[in-house]
């Protein structure tokens, strides 16, 4: 899977694209966990993600746990309609900070 990256000050923005499912979640998890170094602030921009399965959400949960362990921060932003539904179905909005847009997320994380 493609995961674009950019920096906004101290914040690393990861922008994966396509589907995060059984095939692609290992790559997503590897990149996410590698990004969550001590005190890291990571935003995952979901605007180019069309679907996420339980495996993708599990990868996100691993990231959330690691962020806490290293005193870092992890947030997600710009969920598309379907991904937003899956976040609601899974109740993931209760365990990972979700922002409507990347702009809002970056302002809150700075």
């Amino acid at each position: 899977m493609d995961i674009a990256e950019r920096r906004d000050g101290d914040i690393l923005v990861l922008s994966p694209s396509g589907r995060i499912d059984n095939d692609t979640s290992p790559a997503f998890q590897t990149r996410l966990l590698a990004a969550l170094t001590p005190a890291a602030v990571v935003l995952v921009d979901f605007s180019a993600i069309e679907y996420i399965s339980s495996a993708g959400l599990r990868a996100l949960m691993m990231g959330s746990k690691q962020a806490k362990a290293v005193n870092g921060r992890l947030a997600v932003a710009a969920l598309g309609t379907v991904v937003k539904e899956i976040f609601e179905i899974s109740r993931f909005s209760l365990v990972v900070q979700v922002f409507d847009t990347s702009t809002e997320a970056l302002a809150a994380l700075r």
């Binding site: 059984n22 979640s25 495996a55 959400l57 539904e85 609601e88 179905i89 109740r91 209760l94 365990v95």
Partner: protein, 319 residues
């Protein structure tokens, strides 16, 4: 094969309180405004077609117990939660206490909510009845004796009038019990639990409760895919949301609706019944979860059709 649910609630029985009943009545009366309900037929029609099940009914409060009618001579049950009390009472109401019966019970595990109905299972007190409790836990008999002994219960297990036998099953090995083919699988749950696959005349049903699925990535190699493969009915522990299952309630031994759908779709299950409902969920929440789960099935766009239901006490499904 007919499957009848006597207990659908997880962890502990959850009776409806008066406030819940009043809320249902209030919602029903509000929905009835403008309807012409001047006959019993019109009222029954309104109840069946105009009200959501969370208002017209309840998912119920008894803990785990499911009956399988498979055309054999014996009664077949999965688990002995509080639902078995009502099963026993219904049996006696139908046939009277004099009818002698044999019961084959398949016990997922010995946690309290799966055995607590047994001291109130009236047929166990009646001489001539035979109750065979099949399971994969070596200590089944000890647990039943302990549950029903002083100072926890006034009537000792060994004083029960029926003949009670414990039959240890080996996971992975198929047994033929009263014409029903049965196979067990070990499940991830504190102190282990076991799922059962029942087959007869080309129909199959899987009872898989109290089972936590912890795969990182779901593949065909995951043993439960084969165990569930092409089942006509899968009764599945979907107590938690995925977020709860893999965070605060990790290792508590239960699964979620999303895992249920993904496993059922990969295994080409025809009908998924969500079971072992979270005790803090009221009827509206269970109905909401059901709607969301059906939506997740649609989102996944799997080629095989999957029907999804939520179990409720009294639900009957014909296979």
């Amino acid at each position: 094969m007919l499957i009848r649910f006597w207990g659908s609630r997880g962890s502990i029985p959850t009776p409806l309180g008066y406030r819940a009943v009043q809320n249902k009545l209030r919602d029903a009366l509000l929905a009835a405004r403008g309807h012409r309900l001047d006959s019993l037929e019109a009222i029954n029609d309104f109840l069946a077609k105009e009200l959501p099940f969370s208002v017209s009914g309840t998912y119920g409060g008894n803990s785990s117990c499911v009956e399988i009618e498979a055309g054999g001579d014996d009664y077949v049950l999965c688990d002995l939660g509080s639902g078995v009390r009502e099963f026993g009472n219904a049996l006696i109401a139908k046939h009277g206490p004099a009818k002698k019966s044999r019961f084959n019970v398949f016990l997922s595990h010995t946690h309290w909510d799966h055995i607590m109905g047994f001291p109130f299972f009236t047929p166990s007190y009646i001489p001539g009845n035979v109750i065979r409790i099949h399971g994969c836990h070596k200590e089944m008999r000890d647990v039943f004796i302990r549950q029903q002994s002083n100072p926890c219960f006034p009537i000792d297990f060994r004083a029960l009038g029926s003949t009670i036998e414990f039959v240890e099953l080996e996971p992975g090995r198929t047994s033929d019990i009263d014409g029903l083919s049965v196979k067990a699988i070990r499940q991830n749950h504190p102190s282990d639990s076991y799922g059962f696959r029942f087959s007869k005349n080309g129909k199959s049903m899987v009872y898989s409760t109290d089972s936590e699925h912890k795969f990182d990535v779901l593949t065909e190699n995951y043993p439960f895919v084969e165990f569930f493969r092409d089942a006509d009915l899968l009764i599945f522990d979907a107590q938690y949301s995925l977020a709860d299952q893999i965070s605060v309630k990790e290792d508590w031994g239960h699964s979620s609706n999303m895992i249920a759908v993904e496993l059922a779709q990969l295994a080409h299950v025809k009908h998924l019944v969500m079971y072992h409902h979270e005790p803090v969920f009221d009827d509206k929440m269970i109905e909401k979860v059901l709607g969301e789960t059906r939506r997740y099935v649609e989102i996944n766009e799997y080629p095989q059709k999957l029907t999804v239901s939520s179990a409720y006490d009294g639900l009957e499904i014909v296979l």
